[in-house]
């Protein structure tokens, strides 16, 4: 089992790395093609915008490599926050950008004004859905409540192995699991025990 955290020079990869160290999970922080290819589990932490993230991945020529490794090569992949959002076919933050396209659906802004709420959605919120279908939530001893800070959401359309929902004004997709691909809109590295357990569960998937 080899874990790689994808280094695309965004701010704050540190928190995810600190979390992996805390749970005694060895990992490599890299964008080197060989190292990524030799990993069994890939983590893409997401900070910033859809467009910024896709541009950074393109800059380091990682888009088709990741597609090969994950869609064809069966590597486990965990996208966090914007890392989940870019799983979609496209996003409309700062104009339209193509995403990785591994999950059906588009990414757009949460629509909360009708409910008198404001963006970003920030704070602790819960996951609902058929939780027993979730691999990532299976080790959880506490309630699935995690820390969110985002304004956009991946509107997953197809039937996935598991879809998790969260309520903030509207109900939106906050977790998606499709075979070896996992996306979480929240930040497990900021979600105390529940988040650490989720990371541990991901890194132990076989």
């Amino acid at each position: 089992m080899k874990v790689a955290v994808i280094d695309y020079e965004s701010g704050n990869l540190t928190s995810v790395c600190n979390a992996l160290e805390f749970i005694h999970c060895e990992y490599t922080l890299t964008r080197d093609r060989k190292q990524l290819a030799s990993a069994t589990h890939l983590i893409l932490p997401g900070v910033g915008s859809y467009k910024g993230t896709m541009e950074a991945l393109a800059k380091f020529d990682l888009v088709s490599l990741l597609s090969d490794l994950v869609m064809d090569g069966g590597r486990y992949f965990l996208g966090i926050c914007v890392g989940m959002q870019i799983l979609s076919k496209k996003g409309d933050e700062f104009g339209e950008t193509s995403g990785l396209g591994w999950i059906d659906g588009i990414t757009n802004s949460l629509d909360v004004k009708p409910f008198g709420l404001s963006l970003p959605h920030v704070g602790w919120n819960e996951i609902s859905g058929n939780l027993q279908n979730s691999k990532l939530l299976s080790g959880l001893k506490e309630d699935p409540v995690f820390y969110f800070v985002h304004s956009f959401s991946l509107r997953a359309t197809e039937e996935n192995s598991f879809t998790g929902y969260t309520h903030y004004g509207e109900q939106f997709v906050s977790m998606v699991e499709k075979d070896n691909i996992f996306g979480v809109q929240f930040h497990p590295e900021k979600s105390q025990q529940a988040g650490l357990q989720l990371l541990r569960t991901f890194t132990e998937l076989k």
């Binding site: 404001s118 309630d143 969260t166 988040g195």
Partner: protein, 275 residues
Amino acid sequence: MNKLKTRVIPILLIKDGVLVRSRSFEFYQVAGNPFLQVDRFNSWNVDELIYLDISRNGEFNVEDSSMVIGSTSSMKKHFEKPPQNIFEFISYLSKKCFMPLSFGGGLNNIDQIQKVLSSGADKFVVNTAAFESPNLISECPKKFGSQSVVVSIDCLKVGDDYEVMVEGGQKNTGLTPLEWSLEVQKRGAGEVLINSIDRDGIGSGYDAELFRPIVNSLEIPVIICGGAGRVEHFSKGFNEIKPHALAAANIFHFIEHSDKVIKKHLLANEVNVRF
């Protein structure tokens, strides 16, 4: 529907390198070495941690702390080299803190703020500087994201009204808390932290008259602080004020397992909190 949880947030006050409690903004020492208690704070079942450095000399002085506490064997065991400045301290704090971490205390320029965030804090807290440098807050959302900007507002009751004080409660701004809260919201603050100077350390409960108008008028989240001396104050404060977050400083040091006790109490009173 909105299932966002109401947050419970301890505020950890550090003065000249030592953990302190406060009363009406005067400070007493708790036999507290912040370095040795960090793991304990990180393990609390709370939703965020806010560290405020209220040293008056403008610099986080680790050496003072070592002098007060002594270069004890426990300090030596814990550190090869103790943090030498606030940025190293924040970095140390953040390595094992897996909930949102905010840091504030005398921050007054963009470079400092940048370093606070890159050292590992998720949010930074500004107080006096927000008032004295009008452009400071407006520059930050673009650079760091509005969610990282917390403006702290200290309020003192003067006659029948409340006034915003800066410089650790020493200087009157001539503004009301509501006026100033609306202004900082306009400038791009992500959250406001409203502190009641009068209720600070008194333990008589949250001041609804101060907090309620602000919570009702603002779109951004409001964190209230000052006066929580008993567990019951948390549910009373929530029911009367409905803030996004309930913060407190002293109580977390004086009640056993306060984190769990407070959360349990809130749940029993049907407040939507994470437990």
